[in-house]
Symmetry: C2
């Protein structure tokens, strides 16, 4: 689904509309999650449609994103649990076969890709164009030898890993990004991971648990972009158990060199948070400094789309992806709004539905509330409003319901007792505004709170639901009760029940 | 919290009310989860109260129930995952130290018990009576040398493992029940588990995964009391992977004998489901044929309480535990309604709140909807109405939304892809009536559906909630969509979205 902007520099000369080779009502550019969903949805009503894609016809998620990273993490968790179960009376001599680890990642990835490939194969050939698209000055889509006039254009060109400055050249063959890391035939001996956002953090911990010597760097004293200072501190605390991190560090120099023994090594010269200079040397550098939307050189300005200084389209309707009142929809990672699979899926679905005028009763899903999961151990979740957003809103007064998972019953039983949950509750109503958490099985607590926020299920209703014993969710209950106690609603204070085993 | 009915046979002679040694407004009999909650709650308002308990002052859950079983399961899961991670490229030579396994179970159990013990210690000594209570013909409570007159009596005498016929004698020292199994100093070499309900199934699988040779027997072709035939069949299929089960078998003889080498061995002669006779011989027999409420010989008939032929109190208000309009409340396992921790906790809380007349604004939690979890791998969950209950209701028309977890994305990634979920949806509304599931992390899917049923969150609302990718909960989404497609609500059929990776 890669419509890589780097490859779009050779802009073609101006074409007159006379030379149009094909006219369609809808053109979809990009065949990742958002583009495929848009095409599939629009095709249900409209047969006069084309989809254009450069590179692989699968998705970021399945080929270089969610799926292979979760596969690597699954192996890492197995290795970690096997190694560290002495306290349970289970002793293991563990051998990690790096080639087998990567082979499973790749084989399972192929399995998941095959579903998408089969679906794409089922689409009529004359509706699929493999090639790089460019929108010319007349607003026509140029691709290969074709010039396509489209009444409506859905742009779903995705995103690509961002590599700062001249690092690509400096790191040479030692450079890894999320685009290349899952193709490794074997685990490296050592890796520096630059960036402790979701992608960097997941891969750093997974490699570390798989026996790779990992050193992670981040310029801020922050992991997973956490906004709540206490949760961030706790996450750093939990993750430091099996990960060396230089947070709030500065990278002064980066590069690679051929050692005296002929081996290529990467190096990083850095200043740590205390001002001490250090040097790391190892096999590979995984650059995980974020992703950028593939849009800059597509020519969207020729459609009337304005980009801001960060290449985000102005006047984006976050519900449908439409740009102002133009017949242009920018969906998925390409709009640089929320680069998450489920959002891309929704946006593609919505845009694909509404571009078909006949489809007046198209169901457009409500905009998903903010929700993110980082699949580390323990997991990190943010849902709803951030603490900062709440504090910035002068109309909102909030309380924080808290629970530590360090001594929570079931978490302790399972040996996964490290974590902290903050629920931001509205003080005047009994609604959940948002939450931030690091802790065991946080993905599930995140979904339960996402459901509560989406459907305005109040704290009291959540507490009227049975909580089975012993579960990690009893920790959620403790935090919800803490919200209640701190609220300004009188009857809530009576609504207290102590835990009983 | 054990008010064992067997020890109550020596009924004292009739006492006149003149000899009353203490008069209280509230007496709580039994200090398990329900009794302690009732006492704590009533004590907030009423100081004129006493709690009577025979045996340990902790709870069934923490000492012989939920907690130690989950501790054993935690060790079993570690052992299993360590042994079977070759497909991930992780190879382990695993040694299971049975003494360490049991030592952790016991040490952690003591840790959890200590919380309860501390709380009980904090109660005034003159309000606690250690001894076995009996209610005499005048409705007075006799305990030790005391005769207590109570305006209101809360009975929370719990339950005990049921041992059929003369098996206790026949099995002798080879007999194990859930009351004794967690005190074993080491793992046995072999165990027969009789009964594949929740307790038997959890322990059978856990022991098996810990290297014990386990053979499980059940007279029905059913595990975990599953009512949905497809879910039952799937559960048997999943569990048979690491557990030998003789379902629909008959036990013809059971006993123990001294072998020629002086070792005691237990034996079971049985007829299997195909009519073939077999003989099992091994170290221990764990009898897990259910629990019975401890009430028969307490003397509740002297308070006007009638018991049915299964010793269940008639006229039980399931909300408060009150018996008809008597000043008697029977709560927790003792009422033989729903023998689950969270229900006992609620019932004790409710009864403790309402026995205090002054406490007019006591918050009584709504009766919890039916919800049970069996913590096997995969887990088994039932929530809401059973399929049978729905079919028995002539006013209900239902559809079954289904999803298999055998090839579900995240489940497959984690190597836990065995399972099936059935959601029973009301055909005319879009409400969830109930669900039955065997599958990975079913406890969380159970809680989400319990929340939906409790708070009447409809299927469409659940589907408007973001489902993160890749998660096991996407399986839940598939089943919810399947419910939608089968419903009689027109707009729902438009509300379809295909999965995209």
């Amino acid at each position: 689904m890669n419509q890589s902007s780097e490859n779009l520099t050779d802009k073609p000369s101006k074409q007159s509309s006379d030379s149009v080779t094909r006219s369609v009502s809808v053109a979809v550019i990009g065949a990742g999650t958002a583009g495929q969903n848009a095409f599939r949805q629009a095709s249900k009503i409209n047969k006069d449609i084309v989809i254009i894609n450069e590179g692989f016809w699968t998705t970021t998620c399945v080929t270089v994103g969610c799926m292979p990273s979760k596969l690597l993490i699954a192996a890492a968790e197995r290795a970690h649990d096997a190694k560290y179960s002495e306290e349970f009376g289970i002793h293991s001599e563990v051998t990690i076969n790096g080639r087998q680890v990567m082979a499973r990642v790749q084989a399972e990835r192929s399995h998941f890709e095959s579903y998408i490939e089969k679906q794409v194969e089922s689409w009529p050939n004359d509706k699929k164009i493999a090639g790089k698209a460019h929108i010319n000055e007349n607003g026509l889509i140029e691709v290969n030898e074709e010039i396509i006039q489209a009444e409506k254009i859905i742009i779903a060109t995705g995103s690509s890993p961002f590599i700062p400055d001249d690092w690509e050249e400096k790191l040479g063959e030692t450079l890894l990004t999320s685009d290349t890391v899952f193709d490794l035939p074997d685990l490296p001996e050592s890796v520096a991971v630059i960036g402790t956002g979701a992608v960097g953090l997941e891969l750093a911990q997974a490699f570390s648990r798989l026996g790779v010597a990992v050193t992670a760097f981040n310029r801020e004293n922050r992991v997973a972009g956490l906004n709540d200072a206490d949760i961030n501190a706790k996450a750093i605390d939990c993750l430091s158990e099996d990960l060396t991190m230089h947070l709030k560090s500065t990278i002064n120099e980066i590069g690679h060199k051929i050692d005296t023994d002929g081996k290529t090594a990467a190096f990083i010269e850095y200043t740590d948070k205390d001002g001490n200079e250090g040097r790391w040397q190892g096999e590979r550098v995984l650059v995980a400094t974020g992703r950028r939307n593939n849009i800059k050189q597509l020519g969207v300005e020729n459609l009337g789309v304005e980009l801001d200084d960060k290449n985000r389209p102005k006047n984006l309707d976050k519900h449908t992806g439409q740009i102002g009142d133009l017949d242009v929809y920018i969906v998925g990672d390409a709009n640089a709004n929320i680069p998450l699979l489920h959002v891309a899926s929704d946006e593609g679905y919505s845009a694909g539905s509404i571009v078909c005028n006949q489809n007046t009763d198209a169901y457009i899903r409500p905009v998903a509330i903010p929700f993110s999961i980082v699949f580390t151990s323990p997991q990190i979740v943010n849902v709803g409003m951030t603490q900062q957003e709440i504090e910035d809103d002068p109309d909102l007064e909030y309380v924080i319901g808290k629970v530590s998972f360090d001594n929570q019953g079931r978490s302790r039983i399972m040996g996964v007792n490290c974590g902290l949950l903050h629920i931001y509750g509205c003080k005047e109503t009994d609604k959940v505004l948002g939450a931030s958490m690091v802790g065991p099985d946080a993905e599930y607590i995140g979904h339960i709170l996402a459901n509560a926020i989406t459907n305005e299920i109040c704290v009291k209703q959540l507490l009227d639901t049975p909580f089975y014993h012993p579960t990690i969710l009893e920790g959620l209950r403790t935090a919800l009760r803490d919200v209640q106690h701190k609220m300004a609603i009188p009857y809530q204070s009576l609504d207290t029940q102590e835990d009983g085993f």
